[in-house]
């Protein structure tokens, strides 16, 4: 804040004899929306401060200063500062600039908040109403605003619309939400203690042996999550498909050929399947039975965060991390309600009729919204899951300003149509099953046609009925069997986890929270423990996970993590004290560390082997096309320090294959051999340039004009030295 701005603010504050309220919001956009809603004219004064822009709103007989935060401004650190100290249980909350590199702007941000809060009469926490939001607001009020956390009021809202903000301001509770803050503090403290102590033990045990420092991380939620991926990988990799047989048949009815399934869907023996086929061949079928029925499909539940992220992944291939970012933006634009909710219920306090009327002003939804209003469909189908803080995700009715990106538009559309679908009547379909006898065998034809599309019409294109129409048939009618044969099928393993599937598994096993699960999945990817989507554990992930299973079985156990989660949820519900949870979890951690310390040397050795193997695997480019047994690896010349490709069999004197490499950028194997010469292809990644794919063979017929010709690609193998 400049001197002039400070003077202006001071002048404003002293000149006005009215009540001065100070609101802290979680993000700059949220601060703007809150200020606009609370200002009498809807246009608050925007002040450009030294670190951020804040707003001064004019309320009824009061001035309201709305300040943004930037997510968490405070974080935990080890009080003793020594990063190799293990165990360490003394923590302290400090501003993020003191704990993280590259967070210098946080200091100026906090100083400005402190300055602005000095003359306020009332303090209000208006961060998101959940554990993280409450903690963000509380730590700022405590550390930056001279311990105003205990006297501050709390605004609770689920959307950033003007009506909801005004209502939250009018009904704000005095006193912050202590139980949420306590739960947040406990969660951060427990996770911090587990994270630093386990990671330090792993890192130092390796460093003691090798003298090299490389971070190996483990965590309370992170490790069991890695365990899920490993377990599924194990199932997939050790899966033996079992063959079974199906009878593929088709009948001719009039001009139409209709497929039919055999009475027994899976036949275990090929001989039996062949016998059935031979007994049916050259026979005719007789219609033995026609059964008609009605199938009712209820509307879907409203979206909670997990089901919404899974739907976004399935329908649009948007990862949970990306969808969370998009949902956050839609919420800040006041287009949808708070997304980090575990609820599948829309309470009666939500004015569904007005939301529908607002949505009817958007041409795309006009017809469907009007139809629901006309039919007075205002009672949504309620789901099972509940969240005391927020309802399920729903559209606020605010019209998008047309600036939505493609993905934002898709996810907004999904939320609106899902909201419509939950209000619409069930879908009803007519089913027909026709049993056809062929000698002693039976086949079934089945048809399905829509009677009432119900909610499916409102949820298109995200739901549809695949109708199958059967031609008219009569009992006793004779029809020709035009095709009958055996099809061999194999059982298949459970699919590898997609990021959305892993999110669902974490939810089912009750580890992590709605706010943290996506971040945990991102973390295990960033640590290079898992790769791809669908995910598989990397060699490093396997090694670290196996080591943790052996030496820290409890950290990999879902039960322990879930038990701690329940205890932390207990703090939120006022059933248990934070200190009690901290003592319990610290005792558990200490016993784990004590056990592991007895095997510290073994852990160090295993980790050393792991990192060495991982480094080698990362450098391995593929099979050597010359000797066919060795592995081509990235090596570095002892003399020139230049990198090149050499065969692993060089050291045994069996192969002298080598090739030069580009000297700049990161080299990564593509995993596919060149179609022309059989040498591995690599990807060269340079900053600011598009990834570049080449075959490592300089003599490859496909790249006669390549710049990498050198001396024919042959490097003096005498210079070879392992990197």
């Amino acid at each position: 804040m400049s001197i002039r701005q400070a003077w202006e603010l001071d002048l404003w504050m002293s000149a006005t004899a009215v009540r001065r309220a100070f609101i802290i919001a979680e993000k700059p956009t949220a601060a703007r929306r809150i200020a606009e809603a609370l200002d009498r004219r809807g246009s608050p004064k925007k002040v450009k401060g030294r670190a951020f822009e804040y707003y001064v709103s004019e309320g009824e007989g009061e001035e309201i200063l709305v300040c943004p935060a930037l997510g968490h401004l405070y974080t935990l650190v080890d009080l003793r500062g020594d990063k190799s100290l293990c165990p360490s249980f003394v923590t302290k909350w400090v501003s993020r600039d003191r704990a993280e590199r590259g967070s210098q702007r946080i200091r100026a941000w906090i100083q400005e908040i402190t300055q602005l809060s000095k003359r306020a009469d009332q303090f209000i926490n208006a961060c998101d109403y959940d554990i993280e939001g409450s903690l963000i607001g509380s730590t700022i009020l405590k550390y930056a605003c001279s311990e105003k956390d205990k006297t501050a009021a709390r605004m609770r809202f689920s959307t950033l619309t003007k009506a909801d903000i005004l209502l939250a301001y009018k009904n704000m509770a005095s006193g912050t939400d202590d139980s949420l803050v306590e739960a947040g503090l406990a969660r951060h403290e427990v996770d911090f203690l587990y994270g630093i102590n386990l990671s330090r033990l792993l890192t130092t045990s390796q460093k003691r042996l090798s003298g090299r420092y490389s971070t190996i991380s483990a965590g309370r939620v992170q490790s069991p999550t890695l365990g899920f991926v490993m377990q599924r990988d194990e199932e997939v990799n050790s899966f033996v498909p079992i063959p079974h047989f199906e009878i593929d048949a088709a009948f001719k009815v009039g001009e139409e050929t209709v497929a039919a399934s055999y009475q027994k869907q899976k036949i275990q023996k090929l001989s039996e399947a062949n016998r059935i086929v031979s007994e049916c061949e050259n026979s005719r079928g007789i219609v033995k039975e026609i059964k008609e029925g009605t199938v009712t499909r209820s509307p879907p539940y409203p979206f909670d965060i997990g089901s919404l992220q899974r739907a976004a992944y399935t329908l649009f291939n948007v990862s949970p991390t990306r969808s969370m970012g998009i949902l956050e933006r839609l919420y800040l634009d006041a287009l949808i309600s708070y997304p980090r909710t575990g609820s599948q219920k829309l309470p009666s306090t939500i004015d569904v009729e007005s939301k529908l009327k607002d949505l009817a002003s958007i041409p795309k939804y006009s017809e469907l919204a009007k139809e629901l209003v006309e039919n007075r469909c205002f009672r949504p189908r309620q789901g099972v899951k509940e969240d005391p803080a927020h309802p399920a995700v729903y559209p606020t009715g605010v019209k998008p300003d047309g600036m939505l990106s493609k993905e934002e538009g898709m996810i907004y559309d999904l939320i609106v149509r899902r909201f419509f679908a939950t209000l619409a009547p069930p879908a009803r379909m007519k089913s027909v099953r026709v049993k056809i006898g062929v000698g002693l065998h039976f086949f079934t034809m089945s048809g399905l046609s829509a009677m009432e599309m119900g909610w499916i019409r409102f949820y298109r294109p995200y739901a549809q009925i695949t109708e199958r129409f059967l031609p008219g048939l009569k009992l006793g009618q004779e029809i020709g069997l035009v095709k009958v044969g055996v099809v061999t099928r194999y059982s298949s393993p459970a699919p590898a986890y997609s990021s959305a599937g892993l999110l669902g598994e974490m939810e089912r096993k009750e580890i992590g929270t709605n706010a943290t699960r996506t971040g945990i999945i991102e973390t295990i990817g960033r640590r290079r423990y898992v790769k791809g989507d669908p995910m598989s554990a990397t060699p490093l992930g396997w090694s670290v996970g196996t080591l943790l299973e052996r030496h820290f079985p409890r950290i990999m156990s879902v039960e322990m993590t879930r038990d701690l989660e329940h205890q932390m949820n207990g703090i939120e519900g006022g059933k248990i004290w934070r200190v009690e949870v901290l003592i319990n979890s610290t005792e558990l951690l200490m016993s784990m560390l004590d056990e592991a310390r007895q095997h510290e040397a073994a852990i160090g050795r295993e980790l050393l082997e792991t990192t060495r193997r991982t480094r080698l695997e990362e450098m391995a480019l593929g099979k050597c096309p010359i000797c066919k047994t060795g592995e081509l690896t990235v090596l570095r010349s002892k003399k020139t320090k230049k990198r090149f490709v050499g065969c692993s069999n060089y050291w045994t004197g069996r192969c002298r294959a080598s090739a030069p490499l580009p000297q700049r950028g990161k080299v990564a194997p593509v995993g596919v051999a060149c179609g022309s010469c059989g040498w591995p292809r690599i990807k060269v990644l340079s900053k600011g340039r598009r990834p570049w794919m080449i075959c490592v063979n300089p003599m490859c017929p496909l790249k006669k004009n390549s710049k990498i010709q050198g001396n024919g690609g042959v490097i003096d193998v005498g210079e070879m030295q392992d990197m």
Binding site: N237, F239, P243
Partner: protein
């Protein structure tokens, strides 16, 4: 440290690492079902696994290892 005959990991049983041991066990156990279904020989079974869709990577490696080693199913039953 004794290394797995198939990969670089430490041996846990019968010269194989934990994962290849599991894969080998699954391979041997599933043969009875394959034999019932298709009536094929042990050797043909191991060869079929190499091309079978959905067959796990460790199972392919283990069955290849069993083929190379000349492992005989009947003797183990």
């Amino acid at each position: 440290m004794e290394k797995c005959r198939i990969c670089d990991r430490a041996v846990t049983e019968e010269s194989l690492c934990r994962y290849h041991s599991i894969a080998k066990r699954n391979t041997v156990n599933a043969y009875r079902l394959w034999k019932e279904a298709l009536g094929i020989s042990w050797k043909d079974y191991l060869v079929s696994l190499q091309k079978c869709p959905g067959c796990g990577v460790w199972v392919r490696e283990a069955s290849n290892h069993l083929l190379r080693e000349g492992y005989r199913y009947e003797e183990k039953v």
